[in-house]
């Protein structure tokens, strides 16, 4: 795989992303390409549901390697991220050795790799093949863990007091994602290549819908993308609809044999897009299905006409 990475060109990466159905643009591809080539972690920020995590999955598919995921949460510590000794197994071993008088047990016997429970970071470092390490929602952890993490990301080696230093066989492709809940430290940012993914434009979202759900007619895709875009920009929502929710909505509409949006359908399926009571109330109060439908029809017509005349780059979640 290392040879594969050495010889990788940006055009090949682009083709591979397209083959995986991930609609991307030049900026996104160049950034990923640089992170791979410079062997630096890639820090991806953006609103929830814009396709940050998906990039790691796509990369692991492209390079046919294992995706090792470390899901961060408040209170995550080294034991859960790095390694832990299998205490139960060690105790059983000690107990068994007591009962078998002939067997003398040394410290090395119980602190050997077979008693080590690998957690994602150690697993990525010890992997035989260069793995993709996804550190998801890094902003959910506390600052102490973040400091510990960027130490590991600089050297790709871990000291286990009982075993010694474990150095990475292959430097993994590291993807860190953040929803910007908490400001990350400058130290961590400095060590990473940075990518910000915004919600897609209408044209990009049409492209995503049509790539992911080929059954969707062009008319429906245009109307859905326009409606979601309108909701994101014109309503103050607690949670804006993500791309995954757009796709769920599209699938639901197709299941209902819809080839265009109408107020009744919107009313019946809005729960797939807005998943918060306050957001649904805000939608009913400030916009409503009828108004959304008429706005969508007007905007979709003019936007799509414009898009047909000047095709733009498309990107985002696939």
């Amino acid at each position: 795989m290392d040879d594969q990475l050495q010889q990788l060109t940006s055009d090949e990466l682009k083709a591979a992303f397209e083959a995986q159905g991930y609609i991307s643009d030049k900026e996104l591809l160049t950034t990923i390409y640089l992170a791979i080539k410079l062997q630096k972690p890639l820090l991806i920020e953006g609103a929830p549901g814009v396709g940050k995590t998906e990039i790691a999955k796509v990369l692991s598919n492209i390079f046919q390697t294992e995706l090792i995921r470390l899901q961060c949460y408040e209170g995550l510590d080294e034991n859960k991220a790095l390694y832990e000794w299998n205490y139960q197994r060690q105790l059983i071993k000690i107990q068994m050795s007591r009962e078998t008088a002939s067997q003398t047990l040394t410290e090395h016997d119980v602190f050997s790799p077979e008693y080590l429970l690998e957690r994602p970071l150690l697993k990525a470092i010890r992997a035989e093949k260069r793995a993709v390490l996804l550190i998801d929602e890094i902003d959910k952890t506390d600052e102490e863990f973040e400091a510990f993490l960027f130490e590991i990301l600089s050297d790709f080696q871990i000291s286990i007091p009982e075993l010694g230093t474990v150095t990475a066989n292959h430097i993994p492709i590291v993807i860190l994602t953040s929803n910007h809940d908490r400001e990350l430290s400058e130290g961590l940012r400095r060590r990473c290549v940075y990518l910000y993914i915004d919600y897609p434009s209408i044209e990009k979202e049409i492209n995503i819908i049509r790539t992911k759900i080929p059954e969707a007619t062009e008319k429906l895709a245009v109307q859905i993308a326009t409606a979601v875009n309108h909701l994101r920009h014109n309503l103050t929502l607690n949670k804006q609809p993500s791309i995954a929710e757009t796709l769920d909505w599209t699938r639901a509409l197709i299941a209902m044999h819809a080839d265009h949006l109408d107020p009744t359908l919107i009313q019946q399926t809005m729960g797939l897009l807005l998943k918060n009571r306050d957001d649904l109330l805000a939608f009913q109060k400030d916009l409503g299905a009828d108004k959304l439908c008429s706005t969508v029809k007007q905007t979709a017509k003019s936007n799509h006409h414009h898009a047909c005349n000047c095709p733009g780059a498309a990107s985002d979640k696939g």
Partner: protein, 449 residues
């Protein structure tokens, strides 16, 4: 500025002048990245620089502006250069004119460059009025040379008044005028033009000065504040609590537990980090000087109270008034505001933070604990600043941290001597927009900086 390396270094200088933090390691990464990209076109070149130099989403607009102004064909660069030269010339002429106009009996007045910049921005009519005043006093009967300091002080007071009246945009323009330039024309004109473009590309409401917020925007502001407030709800502490799930072994408890089995570790006890919820006390200024910010402060109180459970809110002007119950009992912001305005005796009164803090310390002592975060939302214009500072010092020793959200732009802080006094006992943040609030709430507020 001929080689690519020169251009990259120059471009990084520009970004630094625009407030983007770029380390030497990142500069090296940027140069390295250019050796890696295959197709050397503008889009990839831009993406390479952006991904290695820009590490905050909010810096992207500055990067885009600077890139579009700096990496241009030679003809466009020439045009920009001419425009910059004309602007510099105009600025020089204006400064010269101001120096000529601000004289007393033919001698130049000793006025700071800041105030001279304010004078240059004044409407022509106001400039005329000041010139007439100087003319009259210069030629008045029995007006001697020694009268100059008095004239200077009068003029300074007048210009300071105008400085306080300036809008945020004017202040930004003034800050731009005082920005230390790089002394390299080719770079300086980009810094100047990019800074003038401003903007971040995000939600415009985030960057709006909250005194200019419209009635119909209040629901949006409240919703945004509620979203931000959730960041305050939990903080991980270093303390541990017992847990049944496998976390970290609690050696002490495991040994005690297993003594009954003759020291054989049969039953292990685990511990995990405790989720710590800070106690929050908010003291919000609703005096006359803060009335223009009421569309920000009340949604802020409402938003925080509806999301954070253990919160106590107070308003103050001439005295302190507890308002926690207003917010606790209702989900309707309009209703809460109406009740508050009708029932409160504090709205629009004078300001005495000393009395408010004394009252807090005396009557609500139980709230001021080592785990309390005390937020003060005020423009720091108060009576008895010395006494207030002493009281603040006393309270700051009792609570975990005092955080002051100041609605005055930071450029104006030097004009209020009380601010430097208060800053010794609290962490003071500029906070007149939702963008400021976002930034503040993303910091680890429980940690002393």
């Amino acid at each position: 500025m001929n080689s690519l390396a020169d251009n990259i270094v120059g471009f990084i200088q520009i970004l630094r002048q625009l407030g983007v933090r770029i380390s030497t390691a990142e500069t090296i990464d940027a140069v390295d990245s250019l050796t890696i990209i295959d197709n050397f076109n503008q889009a990839e070149f831009k993406a390479a620089l952006k991904s290695t130099l820009i590490k905050h989403a909010e810096d992207q607009a500055a990067f885009n502006h600077a890139f579009n102004l700096f990496f241009v064909p030679p003809e466009a660069k020439q045009q920009q250069q001419s425009a910059w030269d004309s602007k510099q010339q105009l600025d020089l002429e204006q400064s010269k004119q101001a120096d000529e106009e601000l004289v007393f009996q033919g001698r130049p007045l000793e006025i700071s460059e800041d105030l001279k910049d304010v004078y240059k921005m004044l409407p022509e009519k106001e400039k005329q009025r000041l010139q007439e005043f100087l003319e009259k006093t210069s030629t008045g009967k029995n007006v001697k040379e020694s009268f100059q300091p008095v004239v200077e002080n009068l003029l300074k007071s007048s210009l300071s008044f105008w400085q306080r009246q300036l809008s945020t945009e004017d202040l930004a323009q003034l800050a731009a005028a005082r920005r230390q330039l790089l002394g390299h024309d080719e770079l300086d004109h980009v810094v100047d033009s990019a800074a003038g473009l401003g903007g971040t590309g995000g939600n415009p409401l985030l960057y709006k000065n909250m005194q200019e917020i419209a009635e119909q925007e209040i629901p949006q502001v409240t919703a945004l504040i509620k979203r931000l407030a959730s960041r305050l709800t939990t903080r991980i502490s270093r303390r541990f609590r017992m847990t049944g799930r496998r976390k970290l072994i609690d050696i002490r408890k495991s040994i005690r537990r297993n003594m009954r089995y003759g020291g054989i570790m049969i039953s292990l006890k685990y511990k995990t980090k405790k989720i710590h919820k800070p106690n929050i006390v908010i003291v919000c200024d609703v005096s006359a000087s803060m009335t223009k910010y009421v569309r920000f402060t009340l949604p802020l109180l409402f938003g925080l109270s509806s999301v954070v459970k253990n919160i106590e809110s107070f308003i103050f002007a001439t005295d302190l008034e507890r308002v926690t119950d207003y917010f606790r009992h209702s989900n309707d912001f309009a209703q809460v505001t109406e009740e508050l305005i009708t029932n409160s005796a504090q709205m629009g009164q004078g300001t005495n933070l000393f009395i408010a803090l004394s009252s807090l310390e005396e009557h609500h002592r139980n709230l001021l604990t080592p785990s309390t975060l005390l937020f003060i939302i005020s423009d720091a214009n108060t009576l008895a600043p010395q006494e207030t500072a002493s009281q603040l010092a006393l309270i700051s020793q009792k609570v975990k941290r005092v955080l002051w959200l100041n609605t005055q732009p930071q450029e104006r802080w030097p004009q209020n001597s009380a601010i430097s006094l208060f800053s010794k006992y609290c962490a003071m943040f500029e906070c007149y927009s939702l963008a400021h609030l976002t930034k503040i709430l993303s910091l680890n507020l429980t940690r002393q900086s």
